[in-house]
Amino acid sequence: MLVKEGSDIKSLEDLDGKTVAVQQGTTGQELAKEELGGSEIRPFPEGPDAVNALKAGTVEGVIIDAPVAQNAVEKSGGVEIAEKVPTEEEYGIAVAQGETELLEEINKGLEEVLDDGTYKKIYEKWFKLEPPKAIFSASHEAE
């Protein structure tokens, strides 16, 4: 949850009733619809458009994926992360039905980077955090 630097909106509840920008078609939009019933929700085509609206002052908060938010704080400035809302989301890689060979290769590749430390390195580079332990113990099999 992004707000303008110095804003007194500190939590998701504070944002209810105020205008919120989200990126069209994202889980951020769904979260906003569920949790911010009193707010006007503005779906923008791209994440940066939503952040621009926040900086311009036409909206008071942005609900967007953490990496995008982090990037906005660092690269464009003038905004800060008010609250990190845990959504228990997981990322997935989808392939067309029937692409079993491709699916096997992807899963194999994931196993490799998880085992040899590359995943940890990449994760720490971009998120500046340790990857959650659950990643390494989760099953690698998919249907």
Partner: protein
């Protein structure tokens, strides 16, 4: 082939989402009505200023022509993005005007109306001008020679004739304007194109787009037929009614 119909013409689906799309379409109409009113008015002012005769008014004429040229040249989408991306930052304008929430409509609505008004007033000014210039110069000469002043000539001879030439092309501009209201979707205003897009993203079915398109058709098709009728009626008037020929 049935895949095609399911994807685009799923009538049950359209029925389920009808209210949603219709409410959004009403927003397009709301943009249209307000922008059209402003643009028709502003366009007329521009056209009249452009016609002001004499060296005294040359700077005004120049400014007006410059405005019309510029706003006919820049894509409407860019105009709207410029407005919504820039005006909120102009801190010297008071916040209530910079980020308007007038009459219950949010700021993207007003940015869209402003953008459409600025651009369409330019096109409409040209329609007015074409109407005025289509009246043969001999009419003014004849009127003056009958003793009328320039103003009287305009009022009693030129304008009534010009007015017959304006409705048809102006209706074309209005049809264009109605369709261009969908551009306001780019500033996150919940009009029909945006809502149809959201429905498609959630359901992976494109019938909402078709439904929105049909709603536009219902309005624009009769308008287009009306244009044809007006043009035919006007031509009849010209061939039948011109008694005033300057020898």
């Amino acid at each position: 082939m049935s895949e095609f119909f399911n994807q685009y013409f799923d009538f049950d689906f359209m029925g389920e989402h009808f209210d949603e799309v219709f409410d959004a379409f009403l927003k397009n109409l709301l943009i249209f009505v307000v922008a059209a009113a402003f643009a028709l008015f502003l366009g007329l002012i521009l056209a009249l200023i452009r016609q002001l005769p004499g060296k005294k008014f040359a700077p005004l004429r120049f400014l007006t022509i410059a405005y019309i040229d510029v706003f006919r040249a820049i894509p409407i989408l860019i105009v709207i993005l410029l407005i919504s991306g820039g005006i909120p930052y102009l801190e010297f304008i008071p916040k209530d005007i910079r980020i308007p929430h007038w009459f219950g409509q949010p700021d993207p609505y007003w940015y869209g109306v402003l953008g459409l008004t600025l651009v369409y007033s330019a096109y409409m000014a040209e329609v007015y001008r074409a109407g005025i210039e289509a009246v043969p110069g001999g009419q003014v000469e004849a009127a003056r020679s009958l003793g009328m002043s320039h103003g009287q000539a305009l009022r009693h001879v030129v304008v009534p004739q010009a007015v017959t030439k304006i409705p048809a092309p102006m209706l074309n501009e209005l049809i264009s304007l109605l369709k261009d209201t969908t551009l306001v979707s780019v500033v996150a205003f919940g009009e029909a194109a945006l809502i149809a897009r959201e429905i498609q993203a959630e359901t992976f079915n494109a019938s909402a787009y078709v439904l929105a398109g049909i709603m536009f058709l219902v309005i624009t098709l009769p308008m287009a037929r009306l244009v044809d009728k007006l043009i035919k009626r006007n031509q009849g008037r010209i061939t039948r009614g011109s008694h005033i020929e300057v020898a």
